[in-house]
């Protein structure tokens, strides 16, 4: 039992934190958001560092590391609120690597690993996915409908760029008919994607928690730092509670993806539910701690709040995850009882 990263994994985390502090600081995020366009040189840098292929098999040009390493990067990218198509590409890559055929892998994974021909994934209904991250710039789009997933080349899909409340990321509506089914285990590929997405939300929660605490130490009202008032300090403690809980669940998901497939469905469901709720509540709470300032465009906390809103809806909301958790535990208790 060792619920901690390896030294190599810690090193990945440190490196990512340092790099992103320089390359995706508040000014850069703001510039991308206000310009409603990515700083593509950042993405190029991530590609060159091999981040885009971190969890992709070496035979396809990836680094061959696991979901845990990908999760570490996603958390740091969320912490930095990096404006890039990294996450969507990673999620699409997980779908194709873990549910695709050999041919599909061979065709698409090299581009995903290098970041030169990116992927994305979304839930669809009747062939249409309403809000898909980074679909317009993608080479390949995976649409999940019910238990099936379909792979669609960008050119075979209708992609209609959208304005959303989250200008730190590009979104589009995607419609397609046809496409190739992914023949493999869609559920387990999706679970990996949920874990990576959860990690981004853990990073978002962590960062906005830190912003709130920092502000609460500095801002004075009634001649006292507001962090000395329990209304504020207990709210900050609640942020820690939510963030750390989501982190525990997400890391469990990462581990299960790499080491114990039998627990993956359960772990991914609790990760997605906990991380969504944490990101939503911590970002909202952080705005409240910032008071009037937090409600202004000039403060940075709203970008995180907005990203959290979109992330939480991606790949199914909390309600779906809770129902799934109950199903899975009831089944496992019934099995244990029968044994």
């Amino acid at each position: 039992m060792n619920f901690d990263f390896t030294e190599d994994q810690h090193e990945i985390k440190r490196t990512a934190r340092e790099l992103l502090a320089k390359r995706s600081g508040p000014e850069q995020v703001r510039e991308a958001a206000e310009g409603e366009a990515y700083d593509m040189s950042l993405f190029v840098e991530l590609r060159k560092l091999g981040w885009t292929g971190i969890a992709i098999d070496e035979q396809y040009g990836g680094a061959g590391l696991g979901v845990v390493e990908l999760m570490i990067l996603c958390e740091e990218l969320g912490y930095a609120l990096a404006a890039s198509p990294f996450l969507a590409n990673a999620l699409g890559g997980l779908m194709i690597e873990h549910a695709g055929s050999d041919d599909q892998r061979a065709k698409w994974l090299p581009g995903i690993a290098s970041g030169e021909a990116t992927a994305t994934v979304a839930f669809a209904s009747g062939g249409t996915a309403q809000v898909v991250p980074d679909a317009d710039g993608a080479a390949v789009i995976v649409l999940i409908e019910g238990d099936e997933a379909t792979l669609i080349a960008r050119d075979d899909a209708q992609v209609e760029p959208l304005i959303t409340i989250d200008p730190t990321r590009r979104y589009a509506r995607v419609s397609a008919s046809g496409g190739e089914p992914l023949p493999g285990d869609v559920a387990s590929a999706l679970a990996r994607a949920e874990v990576a997405l959860s990690a981004e939300m853990v990073g978002i929660a962590q960062r906005t928690q830190e912003m709130a605490i920092e502000y609460a130490k500095e801002r004075k009202q009634f001649d006292t730092p507001i962090g000395a008032f329990q209304a504020i300090s207990h709210r900050c403690a609640q942020m820690l509670f939510d963030t750390e809980g989501a982190r525990s669940a997400t890391y469990f998901g990462g581990w299960a993806a790499d080491a114990d497939e039998s627990q993956l469905a359960f772990a991914a469901a609790i990760a997605k539910a906990a991380a969504s709720e944490a990101a939503l509540s911590v970002t909202a709470s952080s705005i409240q701690v910032h008071g009037g300032i937090g409600f202004t465009w000039e403060a940075d906390v709203h970008w995180f709040f907005k990203r959290a809103q979109l992330d939480a809806t991606m790949l199914g909301g909390t309600g779906k995850q809770r129902a799934r958790v109950t199903q899975l535990t009831a089944a496992s208790l019934a099995t244990a009882g029968a044994a």
């Binding site: 309403q130 009202q221 008032f229 209304a231 504020i232 909202a284 409240q288 009037g292 465009w297 709040f305």
Partner: protein, 378 residues
């Protein structure tokens, strides 16, 4: 107990309803300036028909409406989806404050243009360093002959760019304790010493402004309630803010919830037990807000002040409205967060509800200390 409108209240409502029907200005045009001009025209129309300031005494051109009638006025406007008058701060805050504290000359001079919308008012209380702690404000006014010269910075000044006058509180005595030494002024916005910068919110809109004052000049006769008495006068304004605005906000929440219910019904989502449950919970909160607001009105009319329930409506509204908007964007799916929907922006806007007009934390302090009599924080 009678939760229906009595005869005169009904008559008031019917007359108003007919009038709005006949005079409804249609939908507000896009664009901030266009919208403002539209609401100003609408106020002029209300003014001509005697509807602009129903809660004001007849001697100042109002209808001497009861609190219930004033509530009806807000309800009917909201239900008809008619705009609110442009000079809302003048009508609800500046006017009543001048009626309580102003000189005869001030009333004579300012009240009618407030009502007609000829002169718009804004409010200069908050400062960057004095948010919840209003009494610690730092803007200073010094005497210069018969005038005062004010220097300092204000924030959250809505409508400043359209305003002729500002209700301004500034420090005039630096040796007095914090709550003393403040003075309430009427500041002419049309002068060199006043600079207005729009303050952008997380929605991208700029409902508010920052105000930079540098030796802005105020003649001595523009002091309201006497020098050094600014804290007390400002409290009058704030009390009016809480009482007057709550009712309109409640109606706004009902209208939004009705709309959401209709949209979810149309999408066939009311059969989802989780959605029906959460929607029911929100409806209950919304009704409780409405009922509690009416209880507060009755108490104020009968006993001169609201009971303990009167302190709760702002908090009920801000919490309920935030939950409503968060639920709406969840229940309607991610499309609600795109530009083709108004819900996403409304949800963003709602984050300000628990901050504007007194943070929920400060409201709870006030309730704990003044309503429940708990000891003051040290």
């Amino acid at each position: 107990m009678d939760l229906t409108f009595n005869e005169s209240e009904s008559a008031f409502r019917d007359e108003l309803r007919d009038w709005i029907k006949a005079n409804h200005p249609g939908e507000e045009p896009a664009g901030e300036d266009e919208g403002y001009a539209f609401r100003r025209d609408w106020q002029r129309q209300l003014y001509k028909a005697g509807w602009a300031a129903v809660h004001w005494p007849t001697e100042y051109g109002g209808r001497d409406a009861t609190l219930v009638e004033a509530a009806i006025f807000n309800e009917e406007l909201a239900r008809a989806r008619a705009p609110f008058p442009a000079n809302v701060l003048g009508l609800l805050l500046a006017g009543p404050t001048l009626m309580t504290w102003g000189t005869d000359e001030q009333r004579q001079r300012y009240l009618d243009p407030i009502m007609s919308g000829d002169e718009i008012w804004c409010q200069g209380f908050s400062e960057p360093e004095a948010g919840s702690d209003l009494a610690s404000l730092k803007s200073k006014a010094v005497r210069d002959g018969d005038d005062w010269l004010v220097t300092g910075q204000k924030v959250w000044t809505s409508g400043a760019q359209y305003s002729k006058w500002c209700m301004l509180v500034a420090r005039t005595d630096f040796d007095a304790p914090k709550h003393k030494g403040l003075t309430y002024f009427i500041l002419d916005m049309e002068q060199e010493g006043v600079e207005i910068r729009p303050l952008r919110q997380i929605t991208g809109d700029s409902e508010f402004n920052e105000l930079f004052l540098e030796n802005a000049r105020i003649p001595a006769e523009n002091v309201v309630g006497g020098a050094g008495n600014g804290w007390t006068v400002a409290l009058t304004t704030l009390m009016n803010e809480r009482a007057g605005l709550a009712f309109g906000l409640q109606v706004g929440m009902t209208v939004a919830l009705d709309e959401l219910t209709e949209q979810l019904a149309a999408a066939g989502k009311l059969d989802d037990p989780m959605i029906a449950d959460e929607l029911g919970a929100l409806r209950i909160k919304c009704e409780i807000l409405r009922l509690t607001a009416y209880r507060g009105l009755t108490a104020t009319m009968k006993y001169g002040q609201p009971g303990p329930e009167g302190s709760l409506t702002k908090w009920m509204w801000s919490q309920g409205n935030q939950e409503l908007m968060q639920f709406a964007t969840k229940a309607l799916g991610p499309q609600a967060l795109t530009g083709s929907s108004t819900w996403g922006r409304a949800m963003l806007r709602s984050r300000g509800n628990s901050i504007e007009g007194g943070t929920t934390e400060v409201l709870k302090n006030i309730i704990a200390e003044r309503v429940l009599g708990l000891p003051r924080k040290k």
